[in-house]
Amino acid sequence: MKIIFYAYSGVLSASVAAAFFLGILPPRQVVTRQLSEVPFFGANASLYQIYEYGRDYLGNEVFSLGVGKEMVIVPKAIRSFLEIHGFKSHELKMVNTMIPLGYPSRIGERIVSLGGITTGTSIALMGLRTDYHDLIRHVEQEISDLRTKKENKNPNEGILLS
């Protein structure tokens, strides 16, 4: 399975979520330095660029993606493209990391997506420290969804996390 964490910029909350998912970040609090050391965090991003983070211990490949204001159409296009090429829905998990964010993180994401990397990253750093708990809970919820699907043992759902 391939997991894509996506947000406005793809290099802030999505990077943090990917890093947490891969065990790079701890499951509790983080300090600013830990966030800023996350791969691709605050990178001079161009939108719609997919960043690869690596695989988890189960072999799932992890990516982040910045979609700007096209939060609906981009995931839909990716799913639709894979569908017409015969891939099953369980081969992709897309996680919107904007959902649990408060205003500072959202504003930072937006500014970075518009090209203000330094300013946006600074604002998002403040926000993400506060939002970190909610963000990782959101990621865990998404993972637990996958596990639930696995436990349902629906033959159409594939292997997911095992």
């Binding site: 391939k2 939108l47 719609y48 660029q49 997919i50 690869e52 490949e61 990516f63 096209e70 609906v72 159409i73 981009v74 995931p75 839909k76 296009a77 990716i78 639709s80 493209f81 894979l82 569908e83 017409i84 090429h85 891939f87 081969e91």
Partner: protein, 161 residues
């Protein structure tokens, strides 16, 4: 091979180009309003359809022709789709992504917005039809270029009968 014609809403320019490609519309004359309205997907897509690839048909070379509404992603759309293709191991040489937005004129923009976004088709539809007719031969030229390019990479499949 898969050929994707893309525009903002997947309702007008991409659909017209795909219809020319598939022979639904004759490339030698400007279609009437009735002929345009009979083209599958023309003036039909809603916001929910944006971002979905829809199959319009298969051309004489066996290529599948799709349409999609991609909003204002512009050239980034092709880049994104090719990245996804690369990650999933889809052969990129079998993908042709054609942006029809450069051929969209003001009549099509205003008419499309009025009809599809505002839902006032009584005003928007005549405008968009007029605009499509105005842009028609530019779209024909585009499709001819695409067909010439793709024909060299594909084998002709004669139509039955």
């Amino acid at each position: 091979m898969k050929i994707f014609y893309c525009c903002f809403g997947g309702s007008h320019s991409s659909v017209t180009a795909a219809a020319i490609h598939l022979g639904i519309l004759s490339p030698t004359r400007i279609p009437t309003a009735q002929e345009l309205m009979k083209v599958p997907f023309f003036e039909q897509q809603t916001g929910d359809d944006h971002g979905k690839f829809y199959l319009m048909g298969q051309d004489e070379f066996g290529n599948q022709v799709y349409i999609i509404g991609k909003h204002n992603l512009g050239r980034f759309f092709e880049s994104l789709i090719r990245q996804v293709a690369g990650i999933w191991g889809v052969n990129q040489e079998k993908l042709v992504i054609v942006d029809t937005m450069p051929y969209v004129n003001y009549l099509m923009m205003v008419g499309g917005y009025t009809s599809r976004r505002l839902g006032v088709s009584s005003i928007g539809q005549p405008l968009v039809i007029k605009g499509t007719q105005k842009a028609f031969f530019k779209l024909v030229n585009l499709v001819e270029r695409i067909k010439t390019t793709t024909a060299s990479k594909t084998v002709r499949h004669p139509k039955p009968g």
